[in-house]
């Protein structure tokens, strides 16, 4: 039943979901829409059933399918992942220094004797102290653990860092610390980021461009300002209007969606948003899968009724 | 629900076959059956051996033998004993011995569940109280001490020191009906059962008490318990309706596994209590290398364990709707 969203991966490289070097690209959508699956496909943890993922001009899928160990290891190094849950993604029996040094050794990045020097550099970078190195994960707060995860990912100097809901499990005040850290690192190293989140406010805060997903498909891609100022897809509109604004005097024109989210096991044939769409829908919406089309200025929409 | 039961049943068939194959292979690995059959008569001629092997079909390839065994089993024939009561049919033999085993095991299991569940609940409700401490300590002891050891102690205390109960066996040997306990055969059997049932019940009960207690404590922490309280339901409804059903889910699984374990442990317990059940028959058969009987008992115990498993699964499905619906 679970098809690894072939169409989605096609959309990723075939149309315009290419992430530019050095940018922070946001992938937003509600729970279960396939954000994590996309990330896992890129990392080849859940290999895509078909489709291509181009990374630095090479196809990830064919590299992983080949027997070229060296190339594979190189890819594993260049694309790093920060998980949603900093509690589950650190081995509780390893100290922070083990956790961070391990990838340095696997990928033979620094001579053994310089490992510690690099470790301290990394800790400092993410706002931890040298004395933290010999502690175990359970001795840290959630925010600090997420910093450790980030340090581990940065240790191998990745070109693409995928952060899957890195702040979702953190407290409001700590969330700001991590978001600031990510922005800082991005500016400093010009690392390319794929930032996955269901929280549009944080996405707006740190992303340059954003793709909106709904039930395994990309429905809209645009520059952050364009997307938030002038969303075109009815789903994006509803999504943005649903975010509570922390200003009691702000004018609110909420679009309340009615209808249930269709079952992902048996999705609608045509537009998957059809059941909840607030536009004048017609037969086209039920029958055809709307294509992601450029409406100008790098703004892509997949809706039959939105064609400028 | 009926679809769920059918699914479970279908799943049992390959499982049963698998176990049979393993046991069958094991008995064959143990040695040449003809040699075993004639072990007590070493002077038998080579020709008779060959004749015997042919008679029992032992000269056929092993898989043919297995299918023969299987088809006979389907027809209710488990073969004949090599050594007991002059080659009596295994089915008849098992029929004579299965009653006492089931009596003891089922009674002990039912008693254990009937006592363990309320005790576990009270213990959880009054966590860290004196009562709870006593219950947990006793149960821990019961879990640690092996059944046969407990049995020996119980026999020493209740039969030899206190003299309240007989030290073993199923019923008073009939030389005179007045020798029956209170002159009644049924009461006499019950009188003989008291110590074995008590020991077995305690052995089963102890780990279940601990399980009910910890499972209950876990459930009482859940939001839906708080929510039940928050809607004004009385403590009785909260505990016995909302918490209990959820707390029983792991208990049911455990009880099923444990029942199988008890049956497998029957040889030891029944020997200790000189109880004329399948377990003791098994021990007898083993000492005489009576493979058809060993095989037959294994088949019966496997079937009973699988039935216990099925009952567990059905209860499980009844308690937890999430299982029932996949």
């Amino acid at each position: 039943m679970f098809n690894k969203q072939v169409g989605l991966i096609h959309a990723v490289d075939g149309v315009s979901f290419s992430i530019n070097k050095g940018e922070t690209f946001g992938l937003v959508g509600e729970s279960g829409c396939g954000k994590t699956t996309t990330a896992r496909a890129i990392l080849y943890i859940d290999p895509p059933t078909s489709g291509k993922i181009n990374f630095e001009g090479k196809d990830i899928v064919s590299i992983f399918k080949s027997k070229n160990k060296e190339e594979k290891l190189k890819l594993r190094r260049k694309i790093q992942y920060v998980f949603q849950n900093p509690y589950a993604s650190l081995d509780p029996r390893m100290t922070v220094s083990d956790i961070i040094i391990e990838p340095l050794i696997i990928h033979k990045l620094v001579p053994k004797k310089f490992c510690y020097q690099r470790l301290y550099e990394l800790l400092k970078l993410v706002g931890l102290e040298e004395y933290h190195a010999e502690r175990y994960p359970h001795e840290f707060s959630g925010g600090q653990r997420q910093r450790i995860c980030i340090a581990r990912a940065l240790a191998v100097e990745p070109t693409l860092l995928i952060a899957d809901e890195p702040v979702a499990s953190l407290d409001v005040s700590v969330r700001a610390q991590i978001l600031n850290l990510l922005t800082e690192l991005q500016q400093k190293f010009k690392t390319t980021f794929l930032y996955i989140s269901h929280d549009l406010s944080t996405v707006r805060h740190i992303c340059h461009r954003v793709a909106v997903m709904y039930m395994g498909r990309i429905v809209e891609v645009a520059k952050t300002e364009d997307l938030f100022e002038e969303p075109l897809h009815p789903y994006t509109k509803a999504l943005i209007s649903s975010i509570p604004i922390p200003d009691p005097l702000a004018k609110k024109t909420r679009i309340i969606l009615t209808g249930e989210v269709p079952s992902p096991i048996n999705p609608p044939v045509g537009c998957r948003f059809e059941a909840r769409c607030t536009y004048d829908k017609d037969q086209n919406c039920v029958k055809n899968v709307p294509k992601l089309v450029d409406v100008g200025n790098g703004h892509f929409v997949a809706c039959e009724k939105t064609k400028k | 629900m009926s679809r769920y039961i059918i699914r479970r049943l279908l799943y049992l068939i390959p499982l049963f076959l698998g176990i049979l194959i393993i046991v069958f292979a094991a008995t064959r690995i143990a040695g040449d059956p003809v040699r075993l059959m004639t072990a007590l008569n070493p002077h038998i001629s080579e020709q008779s051996r060959i004749n015997l092997a042919h008679y029992y079909g032992l000269d056929q390839p092993i898989y043919t033998q297995f299918f023969m065994y299987l088809s006979q089993m389907m027809a209710g024939d488990l073969g004949n004993s090599y050594a007991i009561r002059g080659g009596i049919e295994v089915t008849t033999l098992i029929g004579d011995y299965i009653g006492p085993t089931m009596q003891l095991q089922i009674l002990a299991m039912s008693l254990a569940l009937a006592i363990a569940i309320p005790v576990g609940i009270i213990s959880a409700k009054k966590r860290y109280s004196k009562l709870d401490m006593t219950v947990t300590t006793t149960s821990l002891l019961g879990t640690c001490i092996p059944v046969f050891y407990m049995g020996i102690i119980a026999i020493i205390v209740f039969s030899y020191i206190l003299g309240w109960f007989p030290p073993g066996s199923y019923i008073t040997q009939i030389s005179d009906t007045r020798n029956y306990f209170l002159g009644n055969p049924t009461l006499d059997i019950l009188w003989h059962m008291a110590v074995p049932t008590g020991v077995l019940t305690f052995a089963i009960l102890a780990p279940i008490v601990l399980l009910v207690r910890s499972s209950m404590l876990e459930v009482l922490k859940q939001d839906y318990i708080l929510a039940a309280r928050a809607s004004g339901l009385s403590e009785r409804v909260v505990i016995y309706k909302h918490a209990l059903r959820n707390a029983l889910i792991p208990v049911v699984t455990y009880a099923g596994i444990y029942f199988g374990g008890m049956l497998a442990g029957a040889p030891i317990t029944e020997t200790v209590f000189n109880w004329p059940g399948l377990g003791r028959l098994f021990v007898q058969a083993t000492t005489k290398l009576d493979f058809p009987v060993i095989m037959g008992i294994t088949v019966v115990i496997t079937i009973m364990t699988l039935i216990a498993n099925l009952i567990t699964d059905i209860t499980y499905g009844y308690i937890d709707p999430r299982i029932r619906m996949e």
Partner: protein, 334 residues
């Protein structure tokens, strides 16, 4: 003068754990006016849920209310017997929990759980109760209530489950509804639906409500007044507009500026250094002082009292009148 439906005075709820006494709620004062929605905000671990559970006296062990009064309609609930409290719970004061997935019992049908609660507080027949349950389902806008009611919780989506939990809370038309983060675990579009539904129901049924959340956006939209909690104490209470435009407590202001938001696109988020203190050994004096940028010597010694600085605006900060806080929304606009 507005009538108060609930008045909490100097509430202290402690947890007696092996590691020590967790002073989860330590001298909290809260008022809820009749017909209003009070927003209770604060970071995780600030004591929001424990305060709310204390109100209906269902703090789980090893927690105990050690001091304080909870005055509901003139009567002190702290002194009431368990039996009396059971009659109040669900009938007078109802509760909605954070996680709809865990607040419904997984092994009973929705109908079973709903009818049970209806029968608990109303003397009607089972059949009437079932009709009433279906009626409630309609009220919370669940499609095909006659069918859905026979489902088990795991067969419903998150949003539906929360609707069902709301239906259960509303079963006996409570006067006060406590909603503990009712939308935190839901998707934004579903959150919008549920908040809208709750607002409408509140109006329709004339209830008062305590809405617990850590999302400043949600309170801005829903609450009439706001109480900010930090480490088991109240920092500030005022009407919603004042809290957002004219905060007087450094923590309130920090909370406002730490949230990435659509309304205020700032380059860098304001960071509150450190994290919420250990409540077994909370900081002396003002509990916020280790993280407060305005802290002075005195803050480490003296416990700030909750004092009214303007009508209806109470602050617990020793320097409330000296420091000049600016709201990220553009400061005071009174």
């Amino acid at each position: 003068m507005v009538k108060k439906i609930l008045k909490i005075e100097n509430l202290k709820t402690y947890f007696y754990t092996w590691a020590g006494i967790v002073k989860a709620v330590d001298g909290v004062n809260i008022d809820v006016n009749e017909g209003e929605t009070l927003g209770l905000v604060g970071e995780s671990g600030s004591g929001k849920s424990v305060t709310a559970l204390s109100i209906i006296r269902i703090v789980p062990s090893p927690g105990k209310i050690v001091e304080g009064k909870i005055i509901y309609k003139g009567e002190n609930l702290v002194e009431k017997k368990e039996k009396t409290l059971q009659d109040i719970r669900g009938k007078e004061i109802a509760y909605i929990f954070q996680d709809p997935a865990t607040s419904l019992n997984p092994v009973f049908t929705i109908a079973n759980q709903l009818v049970e609660v209806i029968l608990r507080h109303q003397k009607i027949s089972k059949k009437e109760a079932l009709e009433k349950a279906i009626e409630l389902f309609r009220l919370v806008e669940i499609p095909d209530p006659e069918i859905k009611i026979w489902n088990y919780p795991h067969q419903l989506s998150g949003g539906m489950k929360q609707r069902m939990a709301i239906a259960r809370a509303l079963a006996s038309q409570p006067n006060l509804l406590i909603a503990d983060e009712p939308t935190t675990n839901l998707d934004v579009t579903i959150q919008a639906q549920i908040l809208e539904l709750m607002k409408n129901l509140k109006k329709k049924l004339g209830m008062s409500m305590i809405l617990i959340t850590h999302d400043m956006g949600v309170v801005a939209d829903t609450a009439d007044r706001i109480t900010v909690l930090y480490a088991g104490r109240v920092c500030e209470t005022a009407d919603t507009k004042t809290i957002f435009y004219n905060p007087k407590h450094p923590y309130t202001q920090a909370l406002l500026t730490a949230v990435p938001s659509l309304a205020l696109k700032t380059e860098k988020l304001n960071v509150i250094p450190g994290s919420i203190p250990n409540l077994i050994k909370p900081p002396k004096g003002c509990r916020f002082h280790p993280r407060c940028e305005y802290a002075q010597q005195i803050c480490t010694k003296k416990i700030p009292e909750l004092t009214e600085i303007e009508p209806g605006h109470k602050v617990a900060c020793l320097r409330a009148t000296e420091i000049n806080l600016k709201s990220p929304l553009g400061g005071s606009n009174n």
